[in-house]
Symmetry: C2
Subunit: 335 residues, 2 copies
């Protein structure tokens, strides 16, 4: 073993865990990391559960064409954010994360310490103050794979499902729309990261360290949202899932979409891209899409983007002013 | 797209999920797969949570030297078994699994269907009849990585921790000890799998499809076990963790160890191995190690293997008749 281990292969599992645990902090759990399993409070007798994975070279690149290097902090943050978003989308608040890390032996120890810091920072910064890292698992592999499972508490409310939208409902979004995709396009371009302006950098940050609007999920549930989900694979694809689950057609409003695209016009022009492709097809913003009764005052942060209609011919689940959308979204297997 | 898709790359994500969900079955949950998160009952107001990962070429080989091919069914079974074991080790019963699959594009669809079948079969066969697959995540990667998170219900009992063993306690094991390691050695050897006898095949099955004794965890908790954990990285390494957490030395009984090694003598002789290396150092049996008050009648299936002692010099946490053990166990990073 080296005197000063720089890679995870130079540390034992116990030593690596001892570098991670002190960085996690957070509120006390009934039983935290260090035993075979953790014990998390489930005060209303139900526990919400989801799982999500980030894979190197699929969900992030360690080194992007323009020079940006993804930090462990970025990946820890994004891992927390995308999992918290799934709990948010049910109208619940997150109570714990369990994290499994699959690491190549040459992974720098400092990168993993950064990952623990990023997890912890995201929980605080995003307002998940009741959520702690409850435990995890460590193992080797030939690429970085970071999986977290997250539990949540419904606080005596009913979960908001994808299947409750009714014809006539207002469809609204909360949080970013197309920003993470714009950031991805910037990172994937050959534009030198070091020369990007602050506006462009805020878009790459939306990709690397997304900020799901965590207060908005429980607020929408309390306001009586009929249906809700998080937007992780693009507005059209995710609205299609909500529409299919609810048995409605989602008709998006071109005017509202133009208002969403407008702030992205500058970077889109730089890259020769259509900002509408990011608004309609861009994933990973982890905002919310929700359906509210017509006339219902929208909770803070929600913007109307369309209307639920009777299914019609049933072929097209998502339309823009009645016509086929110009862009679809992301499918992990591209089928 | 091919007319008859044979690999996951030829299917879309939705189509792949539609192949998986119908195979899962199990008891009804409050809210099952298909939304952003599942909702699991937590009747006593607490939820036990753990996470565990299997990585191709680390935790299993798709093709072993003697010719055995690991099936999706094997990996699904093992994924369920090792996660259920963590819940068992707390004295709880499993209530749900959330499964994340990272798949190379060329993975055969039939392999993934087998994985879903194996998950489901393990839940039934191991007696986890209250546990269902609650949801999951799918993504691409360059090797197979299968992660599951598991929740459990303590049924109004206190969780049994690693830290409760007292000097004088009897240390006992339940379930296999060294069998999975013997199976691993057989699979790693050049002995043709097709020519192995039924006894050897039962050892390779202990490696590929372990059977944690799921009734024994809650029974040990009900019997007042002072401390408990599952044996996943070998008796010496795991007893060391229990001893360290409890502040005791664990002295193993050579006679009891010999009784555990004796049934492994035949395959060990075939391979030129020492069966004691499997008993002391072999992981992945997912049996239980527990500490009971002296004089306590051991619950069904538990065998005495040693005694907890006052810590002594504090250097050696695990001894065999007071001396250093000849074999240690498994560390994922080998530090």
């Amino acid at each position: 073993m080296a005197d000063f281990p720089h890679t995870v292969a130079e540390l034992g599992e116990g030593e690596l865990l001892s570098r991670i645990f002190p960085r996690l902090g957070g509120p006390r759990m009934l039983l935290g990391p260090g035993d075979d399993a953790a014990v998390v409070a489930a005060p209303d007798g139900r526990s919400v559960l989801s799982i999500d994975t980030l894979v190197q070279d699929q969900d992030f690149r360690l080194q992007w064409p323009g020079g940006y290097r993804t930090t462990g902090y970025d990946v820890g943050w994004k891992c927390a954010a995308q999992n918290l978003s799934d709990i948010n989308a049910m109208g619940a608040v997150a109570t714990s994360l369990a994290v499994s890390l699959t690491l190549p032996g040459e992974t720098p120890v400092s990168w993993i310490e950064g990952l623990a810091d990023g997890l912890s920072a995201a929980l605080r910064a995003l307002g998940a103050e009741n959520c702690t890292v409850a435990g995890g698992d460590l193992g080797r592999g030939n690429q970085l794979v970071v999986t977290a499972a997250v539990t949540g508490d419904l606080q005596e409310q009913n979960p908001v499902l994808r299947s409750g939208a009714l014809p006539g409902d207002v469809l609204a979004v909360c949080g970013g729309l197309g920003q993470a995709a714009a950031g991805l396009a910037l990172l994937e371009s050959s534009l030198p990261y070091a020369e990007l302006g602050s506006r462009e950098r805020s878009l790459t940050a939306a990709q690397s360290r997304p900020c799901p609007p965590l207060a908005a999920g429980p607020a929408a549930a309390a306001a009586g949202a009929h249906a809700m989900m998080d937007i992780s694979d693009g507005l059209v694809r995710d609205a299609g899932r909500l529409g299919k689950a609810s048995g409605v057609r989602i008709d998006l409003d071109p005017e509202a979409l133009r208002a969403e695209a407008e702030p992205l016009a500058g970077p889109a022009a730089t890259l020769g891209a259509d900002p509408m492709s990011w608004v309609l097809g861009g994933g990973e913003d982890h905002g919310l899409l929700a359906a509210f009764a017509p006339g219902q005052k929208l909770p803070r942060g929600f913007r109307r983007v369309g209307t639920a209609r009777a299914p019609g011919d049933g072929v097209r689940v998502v339309t823009v002013a009645g016509a086929e959308p110009a862009f679809v979204g992301w499918d992990h297997f591209g089928g």
